[in-house]
Amino acid sequence: MRSSIPGDDLQILLHEADTFSRRLVRRLRLPRADLDDIRQDLLVDLIARIPAYDPDRGSIGAFAGVVLRNQATRIAAKVNRQRQLHGAVPVSLDEPVPESDGLTRGDLVAEENGLAALLGQPVDAFAEIERRLDVERAMGGLGRADGRLCAELSRATADRLAASGHGARSSLYRRVKDLRLALTAMGLQAA
């Protein structure tokens, strides 16, 4: 069957469809294997709309761009709908949950399931309080100067303290080493 689309125009259509399909796959982060299907969907729609092309209104490339852009938007919307249906779309934690008296999605996520727990940070409030009490008890066994150094080290590294005139770097590191031993002897474990 002989095509009614001239060879040069067909090349333009194929090139535009290829460009749009690659862009769409990249933007939606679709698998590479979907590229051919996306390209085919775009081409089928574009070729079906060729009868509406008016050469007096613009080039075939411009016409193809408009058509492909619209079809690409429809394909993207369809993909996003499918992802929402199967839970593969980022959701805002501030989004309110319907019929839940103003609760947000973030309110429904337990601390144990949050990002902090995933990264290994402590999320047990009782354990944190006990740790705080242990730290205060241990620091009570230090001299006042060592206690102040601990407070300063909670804000800055030993290098920064040395740079800001709190003592020589080597002596600060010696004190830190001694503090580590002293706090271990008092029952504190390294975080």
């Binding site: 205060e136 008890r137 620091m139 009570g140 031993l181 002897a185 029952g187 504190l188």
Partner: protein, 113 residues
């Protein structure tokens, strides 16, 4: 008075300073940690000890740490005689003090002021 024989100082390094701190910090009250066996006063003397130099220095740190812990009320230091000029040096873990002498919050506020 008998001459001090080098053979008397046959002690060896039992525990490192960090391990001693760990034992003191995490052992239950009443636990006994043997931090040296030998004759400590001689084992620390470089001209007499048979310990390698590195071990001798570490033993010095261990002994000072044991004394420090006793001074802070974390351990009782006792010795058990094993024979002539040979002792087991023991640290008996005491209950940890309950009340903090320094408040962490006050330290942080003072430092921020």
């Amino acid at each position: 008075m008998n001459a001090i024989s080098p053979e008397l100082s046959a002690g060896r390094l039992q525990i490192s300073e960090i391990d001693l701190c760990g034992c003191i910090g995490h052992a239950a009250p009443g636990a006994v940690v043997e931090y040296h066996r030998g004759f400590l006063a001689l084992d620390l003397v470089p001209q007499v000890t048979r310990l390698p130099e590195r071990d001798r220095l570490e033993l010095g740190r261990v002994a000072r740490r044991a004394w420090w812990a006793a001074d802070r009320g974390l351990v009782h230091l006792v010795q058990r005689r094993l024979g002539p000029s040979a002792f087991a040096y023991l640290a008996v873990v005491r209950p940890k003090p309950r009340h903090a002498a320094i408040s962490l919050s006050s330290l942080l506020q003072v430092d921020a002021a």
